[in-house]
Symmetry: C2
Subunit: 239 residues, 2 copies
């Protein structure tokens, strides 16, 4: 199984300190919502966000959007061999049902995330496709490792061990039973806020220039899919 965790994601509702700002009020009014019910977004609140603590690494919900579109509905995902979690800026964790179909339209995605952050799960009643969980990152990683002795937790990070694609292929465990956990920051700039490196077995850098989080997701997903030749397995199962 491949378990992807988007870390310290730049995904949150407008915080109280910005809710009185004119550009926030205006956008909220236009969308018929309260200021603290809309997503913080650098595209619309960039100017107000300059006054926000840690402002340059917040308010980029598009990063999560692209990561989810890159991961979900792939053959690996459809084969039931992948899970996805999103750690929020405030530390809470969203559990993503691998069967969820995220809207292609960004506005609709934003509406869905707003509902999730307000209510705690989507849909609000019944079995959730997206749900905010209580446990922290350490607990999540432990539970994903389970009892396997061959689990591997990779943290993709600038300054990590230089790792070409062949290196990545060699590092991945050859057994499909061994859980592989990929941690990747889902924010635009800078390092991690929290000391989470120790939760991972190795830190890897997958290119010598900064990579978009969704490219890292794709690279590891397709390398993992190739390692286990997931598509051929699916064709065999079909017969």
């Amino acid at each position: 199984m491949l378990h992807v965790i988007l870390l310290e994601a730049a995904l949150e509702l407008v915080p109280p300190e910005l809710s009185a700002k004119k550009m926030v009020q205006k956008q909220a009014y236009r969308r018929k919502k309260k200021p603290n019910e809309i997503l913080l977004d650098q595209t619309y609140h960039g100017q107000a966000m300059t006054q926000l603590n840690d402002g340059t690494r917040r308010g980029r919900p598009d990063i999560v959007f692209f990561c989810l579109q890159s991961l979900l509905e792939t053959p690996l995902c459809k084969a039931g061999l992948m899970t996805v979690h999103i750690q929020l800026y405030d530390g809470r964790i969203i559990q993503v049902d691998a069967a969820v179909r995220i809207p292609r339209n960004y506005e609709r995605f934003v509406g869905l995330m707003e509902q999730l952050l307000l209510v705690g799960q989507v849909p609000p009643e019944g079995a959730p496709l997206l749900k905010i969980q209580a446990p922290g990152l350490g607990e999540l990683i432990s539970s994903l490792r389970g009892s396997s002795k061959d689990s591997l937790a990779l943290l993709a990070v600038e300054g990590g061990k230089h790792t070409g694609l062949n290196d990545l292929m060699s590092v991945l465990p050859s057994s499909l039973e061994a859980p592989v956990i990929l941690g990747i920051g889902a924010f635009p700039h800078g390092g991690f806020q929290h000391d989470l490196q120790s939760l991972f077995d190795i830190q890897v850098e997958l290119d010598y220039e900064v990579m978009m989080a969704w490219h890292v997701c794709s690279e590891v997903l397709w390398a993992y899919s190739l390692k286990h030749d997931v598509v051929s397995e699916r064709y065999l199962l079909e017969q």
Copy 2:
């Protein structure tokens, strides 16, 4: 080199037969544009599009959006080893400068595409990052093949040859000099409108369920990058 061609893309301005529709007029008014200056989009014009010829396969600019976000700014792209073209619904072809940075915000992407389709290139003056070209698909593929005898043109299509990831790796030429051309439909439903199969050497199906166009782009991009271990090459060059 890997050359990606997004085929018969569901990307166009609102056609004349829909420009008088109320929902189109309303959206155009809100955006301070004329109805025939805005992109056709199923999210907003779905109801009116039911009356449109071939309506179910048009008006999905998000497909091109996700494909470009999956391809551009990757290590392969930055290494100068990839080109991207987009064939429009009307047959014209957009040449994408591999150095272009497509806006992450969907609204801004839409504005950019509207300008491109109206003016013919973006930016309107000077060296274009995106440009509508005259030559047709056959001519484009010939020019991408160049004089190489080892070129390979793959068409990803439902009903093509079952091709697992290991099969894909074997099919890719081992020389970086041999042009690999990937054709992939960038529309939501159905087959190709035009008889373009004969322009390609082989037709491949990369999963037994329908794949999103951007997943096909990612799969081939990362398989190709692995085949030539592009990232390691980049680390070596850096030293």
